[in-house]
């Protein structure tokens, strides 16, 4: 893996270099008859360059937390600042812009657009970010090269292996140089060897100063993180550094 050296961006992180600042975050799903409290009072602070693993049983609220962190959803109550910017009360288009510039997503099932080539998939966030055609192509190729797929850029997702698809997804997530990379079970759909490929990619990213938050069941992945946050029934029950 060979990422180009990037200068640390100035002024994008909050004061004291915090990417994530969550205080008293709750999320209630109102299904009409019953109210489901998915998150109850989350306090979480993540600094620049941290690699955080989020673990917990199914239904504990991990994915809900990830959606809130990625601005795909808004909290019912509480205060959330992403790179120092308060997210509450922003309209849909504004949230879309934040997702585009500040957050990169990696999903368990890759979620590549099937009719587009690997290159076009990576270009997609750049298109939304208003990057011109030539520059778009240059930066997408750079990212694909970094994940070792320079020779697969014209392939459609169906022509790639699971591990390759996930690497394309990572390249796509990083295309806009986001402050935060969110991954939801990135190795969940991969065999062991492809999974460890992805793990080393994430390791590389962490070493190069990326801020990573990964939801996982995979103990191998959780051990690689700097810090492990465990969630049960919508509350953080444990938050400790991992013994490396």
């Amino acid at each position: 893996m060979n990422w180009p050296i990037k200068k640390k961006k100035n002024g994008t992180a909050g004061l004291n270099g915090r990417i994530i600042e969550m205080h008293g975050i709750t999320k209630v799903y109102d299904t009409g008859k019953i109210q489901v409290e998915a998150l109850r009072g989350i306090d979480l602070t993540v600094g620049r360059g941290e690699f955080v693993a989020v673990v917990g049983p199914s239904g504990s609220g991990k994915s809900t937390l990830l959606n809130l962190l990625g601005c795909l959803d808004t909290p019912t109550d509480g205060d959330y600042r992403l790179s120092g910017e308060a997210v509450a009360g922003l309209d849909r288009d504004h949230l879309a812009d934040i997702r585009n510039r500040r957050v990169g997503f990696v999903f368990q099932n890759f979620n590549l657009l099937p009719q587009l080539s690997a290159l076009e998939n990576v270009e997609m966030p750049l298109l939304f970010g208003g990057v011109g055609r030539r520059e778009r192509r240059r930066r997408a190729l750079e990212q694909l090269d970094a994940v070792g797929l320079a020779d697969r850029v014209e392939h459609k997702p169906t022509e790639l292996s699971g591990g390759q698809m996930q690497r394309v997804a990572i390249a796509r997530a990083l295309a806009m140089e986001p402050d935060l990379l969110l991954a939801d079970e990135p190795t969940g759909n991969l065999d062991t060897s492809s999974g460890s490929d992805i793990l080393s990619v994430l390791d590389q990213l962490s070493k190069r100063g990326r801020t990573l938050m990964v939801v996982t069941h995979d103990p191998a992945l959780a051990r690689r993180a700097d810090r492990m946050v465990e969630i049960r029934d919508g509350e953080i029950v444990e938050d400790r550094p991992t013994p490396n």
């Binding site: 288009d93 879309a96 812009d97 997702r99 368990q108 979620n111 009719q115 208003g130």
Partner: protein, 419 residues
């Protein structure tokens, strides 16, 4: 919208090429068919309108026709039920008083005279009238003939002008002009035959089946002076009410009856008839347009249907795009564009098909085809094309808009969670 928005929408639209092709073709065909229906219906309506207007003009423009009748009101000590029977000389009297009329003529009619040329004798209609009648009632002569003139009328010449159908009945293949024929055994010189014309209104049978002679000649031969009709032409359509009023005052003054007596003064005002017919035609066009638009709407529902299916199929992709930072408009824009494209492509094909059909129908000869002579030829006008385009455009936008709105409500958090 910013330039960036259009660029993103255009890009996504061009990328969304993996469409269900068969369904798309069927939908485009449905729109095309709807367009053909609306254009053909409106064009036939237009052709019918043109034909009716032409047929109405066959009798003359801005004219009114009056029949003698009895009074229905008591007036200045005179009882009701008095017959009012103007005579030949009253025409001069009326002309002097009807300044809003550009012409007033009287008619004396013999309904069944024997008309003879060599061995052929038939029974037909002969009308004695003033020489202005030719222009006023659109009795235009075929080449080589003429209508009778002021001299013929003054000199009581025995000249006759024949309707084209009557001429053929009597003379068959012979050219009648210059020949001598007999009206009730009195010889007449045929001076002209009427050009064939389309005539839809008539008050004593179509003009093509009758013959016309100078009113003075008629009076001399038949010994009658009481008019069977008075026909006058207003200077313009707007002058008709005034002309009618002047007619009423003049006739009522001379024959001493109530100038508001509708029974005596009831007449056939073709200007009013034209207005009623024009309104009816507008109503008919509107009706045809609605039928066409409804047909087109079915096609529009097809487009909306296919678009809903596309949105449903692409829910996950929409969610991914949103996660990558696509704004609402960037997600919906391509769908609206797609619906509009289907509609416009279908509409274009339909319009082309309709134009070809109209062109081909235009090649069918109208002469001698009773149905076509009445219906006329379908006529495509700019108004029709514009109305069709407007209906197509709005249906296209609606057909794309509603599915796109559903796409915009996609919750990315929901769609991306699991397979």
């Amino acid at each position: 919208m910013r330039l960036l928005d259009w660029r993103v929408i255009g890009h996504l639209f061009l990328r969304a090429s993996s469409l269900q092709r068969k369904r798309a073709i069927l939908t485009v065909a449905a729109i095309a068919w709807g367009t053909v229906a609306i254009v053909m219906l409106l064009s036939f309506g237009e052709g019918l309108k043109n034909q009716l207007m032409k047929g109405r003009r066959g009798m003359g423009e801005n004219i009114a026709v009056w029949w003698p009748d009895e009074t229905s009101k008591v007036w200045q000590g005179l009882p009701e039920g008095r017959p009012i029977r103007p005579r030949m000389d009253d025409i001069t009297y009326l002309r002097a008083r009807m300044t809003a009329a550009s012409g007033v003529v009287g008619e004396l009619t013999s309904w069944s005279s024997s008309l003879t040329y060599e061995q052929t004798t038939i029974t037909g209609r002969v009308t004695g009238t003033n020489w202005e009648y030719g222009e006023l009632r659109h009795h235009f002569p075929q080449a080589g003939g003429r209508f009778f003139n002021a001299n013929d009328e003054r000199e009581k010449r025995r000249v006759i002008f024949l309707g084209d159908e009557l001429a053929e009945e009597i003379f068959a293949d012979v050219d009648p002009v210059g020949k001598t024929m007999f009206v009730d055994r009195v010889p007449y010189l045929v001076i002209g035959v009427m050009q064939h014309k389309l005539q839809m209104g008539t008050y004593k049978g179509p003009d093509e089946g009758g013959s016309v002679i100078p009113i003075t000649t008629f009076a001399a031969q038949f010994g009658r002076q009481q008019l069977t009709n008075i026909v006058f032409k207003a200077r313009s359509a707007e002058d008709m009410p005034l002309a009618r009023d002047q007619f009423n005052q003049a006739l009522a003054g001379k024959y001493r009856f109530d100038p508001t007596d509708e029974q005596v003064l009831g007449l056939w005002d073709t200007v009013e008839g034209a207005r009623i017919m024009s309104n009816m035609m507008i109503g008919l066009q509107f009706f045809l347009g609605i039928i066409g638009a409804l047909t087109l709407l079915i096609g529009g529902i097809g487009v909306a249907n296919i678009m809903y299916a596309v949105v449903k199929e692409k829910t996950r992709e929409i969610g991914v795009q949103m996660a990558l930072g696509a704004r609402g408009g960037w997600v919906t824009g391509p769908f609206v564009l797609q619906g509009l494209t289907y509609t416009l492509v279908g509409g274009g094909l339909g319009l082309l098909t309709a134009m070809v059909m109209i062109l081909l129908l235009g090649l069918v000869p109208v002469e001698g085809n009773a149905a076509l002579e009445f219906l006329g030829k379908p006529t495509l006008s700019w108004q029709i094309a514009f109305a069709t385009a407007a209906v197509l455009g709005s249906i296209g936008i609606l057909a794309g808009y509603f599915p796109a709105r559903r796409a915009a409500t996609v919750d990315p958090a929901e769609t991306l969670r699991y397979e």
